[in-house]
């Protein structure tokens, strides 16, 4: 029972981070029909920026803030400079471009920050809570991770549901031509979409790094799990991305806790294949809306 509790709580905290990565992928897929293979590498890069500041004596919070802001700038720059020329072209072009970015960011990070493992601090205690004299695997830092993701999700929901800007962003994602005819600056909305996605990705990068070791490829596995979560949620649906992320977090945590941690990557692959075989439109998408 205690192990079940431990495994579940750990899975939820991991799942929150996968949700954030899945959400970043969904935001970009919805508006530009591009799977951003560089999402994890961009998050890794901004996490290194945060780490440089922290190592230079700044607080964790300054590092986090700067990582989020640099994510915003990086996302906008990548869309404007690199992705815009291939938008609307053959899908393979965009795939190659984001794969190129992925390789480029990893190489650049290795040059600038080194390719060895370095430890990233956590803002809160990494020792588990004690419940009834028993030490559990759920830590104050896990609560912070979940809370941070929840706050960002709620902020995005508020943006998309209740603001004019969010309405214009959604309209641009659904129908670029009609949006332009209604005076919406679709190009600016797409840039903003990439920028917001990169902020969410940066948050995930810093959160998963907290209390762990980072290297230029530490996000690779995380982004793969986030991608599986996004597919599970239907790739179209932000809500689906969140539920997909939590589900993947829990499932992988059970696999790791009960079957062995070496099976986690295999389990993710099995889930991906199973979803694509049984329900390729994902759990939360209208069947007709998917056109891969």
């Amino acid at each position: 029972m205690q192990q079940f509790l431990n495994v579940t709580l750990t899975g939820l905290a991991q799942g929150a981070v996968y949700s954030a990565i899945a959400l970043a992928l969904v935001l970009i897929w919805r508006s530009t029909r591009i799977v951003n293979f560089a999402q994890g590498a961009m998050a890794m890069f901004t996490t290194y920026i945060a780490l440089s500041l922290i190592e230079a004596g700044q607080s964790y919070w300054v590092g986090l803030l700067v990582a989020l802001v640099s994510g915003l700038v990086l996302g906008a720059l990548v869309e404007r400079v690199v992705v815009r020329p291939v938008e609307g072209g053959p899908e393979l072009n965009a795939v190659i471009v984001t794969l190129g970015l992925f390789v480029g960011f990893q190489a650049l990070a290795a040059i600038l920050f080194g390719s060895t493992f370095v430890s990233f601090p956590a803002p809160f205690d990494l020792r588990g809570f004690t419940v009834g004299g028993v030490n559990i695997a759920f830590t104050p830092n896990s609560i912070f991770v979940i809370a941070a993701v929840v706050v960002v999700m709620l902020a995005l929901v508020a943006l998309f549901r209740f603001t004019n800007l969010g309405l214009q962003m959604r309209a641009s994602a659904f129908s670029q031509e009609v949006s332009r005819l209604l005076g919406v600056r679709v190009g600016a909305m797409l840039t903003l979409g990439w920028a917001l996605a990169a902020v969410v990705g940066s948050l995930a990068g810093v959160l998963i790094a907290g209390g762990n070791l980072v290297s230029p490829n530490y996000m690779d596995a995380v982004v793969v799990f986030g991608f599986v979560a996004a597919v599970l949620g239907g790739l179209e649906s932000p809500g689906g991305a969140v539920v997909g992320g939590l589900t993947i977090g829990l499932l992988l945590s059970y696999v790791s806790g009960y079957l062995g941690s070496e099976l986690v990557a295999l389990a993710a692959l099995v889930i991906l294949v199973a979803v694509l075989l049984v329900r390729p439109q994902g759990l939360f998408s209208h069947a007709a809306a998917r056109r891969v």
């Binding site: 309405l167 309209a171 031509e177 005819l181 209604l182 919406v184 600056r185």
Partner: protein, 246 residues
């Protein structure tokens, strides 16, 4: 609502456009005057839809000019042309089906308020089209064809346009609904309080279109073959048989 403003005519001069090697428009001259409905008629493939898409900036012209009053809109981006006061209601309804009825209208009203020219607000549209009021919180994909046409016309009106470009509003609708929508268009144009709207109405249904239009322009293979009053065009048997199919 703001006081009626004097609105400018839309003038299209010598407009040409092509899709690759295929010429779709060849030196077209059309004027849409405020307070008038100008019908653009012709067979399938005559260039009617291309004419509207070129005016609204979705297709780049190869030659010619698009003027709104003394403002040159030729080759401006579509969003700039929309902001200048040209509302294009595209063929096939153009509702954003993933948004609700109210969100579709809010999107139009955003442009209207940024233009400070909103003559119709969302509540006016609901008063004009009661079926939309009942379905305001529903997603637009649940609407019938007639309701979608009401929604796109209402959404164009809340942008506060000087010029309304309508592409085949009768397409796929029952005759009773077409009569209702055309009657409403006539009322909008005649209503002085609406600030002298110009309407450019593209139709294959030439008989119905001429019955509400003031002026007609007949296109064939991308060229203007006749421009006259709607009554004169409807009375010209040779022209009707050759190009209008009734």
């Amino acid at each position: 609502m703001s006081a009626p403003a004097t609105t400018a005519a839309l003038q299209v001069r010598g407009l040409s456009a092509s899709y690759g090697p295929v010429t779709a428009l060849d030196g077209v001259d059309v004027t849409a005057e405020p307070g008038r409905i100008t019908a653009v008629l012709g067979a399938n493939g005559a260039g009617k839809t291309t004419l509207l898409r070129t005016i609204s900036g979705l297709v780049r012209p190869t030659a010619g000019q698009v003027l709104l009053g003394d403002r040159d809109l030729t080759r401006a981006p579509a969003e700039t042309i929309a902001r200048a006061g040209v509302a294009h209601v595209p063929e096939g309804r153009g509702v954003i089906t993933e948004l609700t009825v109210e969100e579709n209208l809010r999107l139009g009203a955003l442009l209207g308020s940024s233009r400070k020219r909103t003559r119709h607000v969302i509540d006016d549209v609901y008063a004009m089209f009661p079926p939309l009021a009942e379905r305001r919180a529903r997603h637009a994909h649940t609407l019938s064809g007639g309701e979608r046409q009401m929604l796109v016309i209402g959404r164009a009106l809340v942008t506060g346009p000087d010029v309304l470009l309508l592409d085949e509003p009768s397409l796929g609708l029952a005759p009773r609904i077409v009569a209702q929508i055309f009657g409403l268009l006539r009322e909008l144009v005649d209503d002085a309080a609406s600030g002298r709207l110009s309407v450019l109405l593209v139709e294959q249904n030439a008989r119905s279109a001429l019955s509400i239009a003031d002026v007609g322009v007949v296109l064939n293979l991308g060229r203007v073959v006749a421009t006259d009053s709607a009554a004169a065009l409807a009375a010209d048997d040779g022209l009707r048989h050759a190009y209008l199919g009734f």
